[in-house]
């Protein structure tokens, strides 16, 4: 399959990308790893006039860890997130989630920024960044702005990104001591995408939930925070009864997607089961 013709520019700075986007926001596409865009170009689902290759922008690369926060550049690949020992020490959920994405070759090219900006309803990182209470940093003509991950995803393949903006980095506040995260997913057997994926972070204090956050992907049109279930568990123990109640709440608060592989009812049930399993794993 051959894409339709387009022009190509390899960007040398973020400022250049923003200028080019400003010139023709609707006819321009950004490419980093290209593992979502290339298949779309080949199927001619996308036919941009101009493709801007942002792959060599060093300002969008790398992982920086400070005492208060962790910054992940948009161009950081799944493989880099899987293999970073520094990041694994702080937040092992990154390598755990990365190992569940696609296959080694795809992980070598695909980037976290691309995954978030593309907002595939079944992508893995959206649930993880929501549970981590991350902020997404966006660059545009007016400079930088930040949006909470839970507010970043709007609909299927749709985010708060304007056509002339670019996702620059992900900022995660350093979790409080004792906060533990887990990501669980039911993989689609052919595509490897999440039929349902649940990311949970919990901090227990004397057996009672002091902090909790939940991110859900795969189930609905976009990733979202399981706020109601988190509110229910705050101040309670992770007893089997409380876990069951929270998982039920989460599965009922969502309007689930339905497709040939999984009905809405089945997805709701998977939310309940995976939330239960995630919370049980974090309860000990």
């Amino acid at each position: 399959m051959i894409p339709a013709a387009f022009d190509y520019v390899r960007a040398s700075s973020l400022a250049q990308v923003i200028d080019l986007l400003h010139d023709d926001p609707d006819g321009t596409k950004l490419v980093a790893g290209g593992h979502t865009l290339l298949p779309a170009l080949k199927l001619r689902l996308a036919s941009p006039a101009l493709l801007i290759d942002i792959g060599s922008l060093t300002e969008l690369k790398g992982i920086e860890i400070s005492e208060t926060s962790i910054k992940i550049g948009a161009l950081t690949t799944h493989t880099e997130l899987l293999a970073s020992e520094l990041l694994s020490k702080e937040l092992p959920v990154f390598s755990q989630a990365a190992s569940l994405i696609a296959d080694p070759q795809v992980r070598n090219r695909g980037t976290i920024g691309g995954s978030l900006a593309n907002a595939d309803p079944a992508a893995d990182w959206p649930a993880v960044v929501v549970a981590l209470q991350a902020e997404i940093e966006i660059a545009g003509t007016n400079g930088l702005r930040r949006v909470a991950a839970k507010d970043f995803f709007v609909d299927i393949f749709s985010t708060v990104l304007e056509p002339n903006e670019i996702l620059a980095s992900i900022h995660i506040p350093q979790p409080k001591a004792g906060m533990r995260f887990i990501y669980r997913k039911i993989r689609h057997p052919a595509s490897g995408f999440a039929v349902v994926g649940i990311a949970v972070g919990v901090r227990l204090q004397q057996g009672v939930v002091a902090d909790i956050s939940i991110g859900v992907t795969g189930a609905a049109s976009h990733a979202f925070a399981g706020q109601q279930a988190a509110d229910f568990l705050t101040g309670r123990t992770l007893s089997r009864q409380n876990i069951d109640q929270a998982a039920k709440l989460l599965s009922e608060t969502t309007e689930c997607l339905s497709d040939r592989y999984a009905s809405a009812e089945y997805r709701a049930n998977l939310i309940r089961i995976e939330t239960t399993r995630a919370l049980l794993a974090l309860s000990s």
């Binding site: 013709a5 290339l38 298949p39 080949k42 290759d53 070759q105 490897g192």
Partner: protein, 163 residues
């Protein structure tokens, strides 16, 4: 195709040889490798980044060359299956292990499999059977049932040293 489509110079090092080729922006890397360079050991299977038959190494990492534009590889160093052993030379250890363990039938997926195994053994010199299977998740073989492929890779690990 329009005869006036703009061409972009791509300079790449393939199997140690540096080349500059003018390509259309929409040309896939796998087509540059097969058609412009004549290196037909890299195969196009599914053309949708599922099967891994087109796997090559770019700057030391295994990638699917059907899902990359040739222009995106400008400046990169690429190794294809032809870079592992030339005609009349001895097979590389991975190729020899595939031969020894009958890890192929039709052979279509083999170049991609070998390139993925190369990446695996660089990252993890002594993988378990589970790790081998996990590392080959991006390569599909429709003949062997994978068993002999896994045995071939195991023969290159500490397990293979045992009698």
């Amino acid at each position: 195709m329009s005869g006036s489509e703009k061409l972009h110079d791509v300079t790449i090092e393939v199997n140690g040889v540096r080349k500059t080729i003018a390509v259309e922006a929409r040309k896939l890397l796998v087509h540059l490798i097969r058609e412009d360079l004549g290196l037909t050991g890299t195969h196009v299977g599914c053309d949708t980044s599922q099967c891994g038959a087109c796997t090559v190494e770019i700057d030391g990492r295994a990638v699917k060359s059907c899902t990359l534009l040739a222009v995106m590889a400008d400046g990169a160093s690429i190794t294809t299956i032809e870079g592992l052993a030339g005609p009349g030379t001895e097979l590389s250890p991975i190729q020899a292990a595939f031969h020894e363990h009958h890890a192929l039938q039709c052979g279509f997926c083999t170049p991609g499999m070998v390139m993925s195994v190369r990446q695996l053994l660089k990252d993890q010199p002594d993988p378990s059977e589970h790790e081998i299977r996990h590392a080959l998740a991006g390569n599909i073989c429709r003949c062997t049932g994978y068993h002999n492929i896994v045995r071939a890779v195991e023969s290159l690990t500490s397990k293979g040293d045992q009698p």
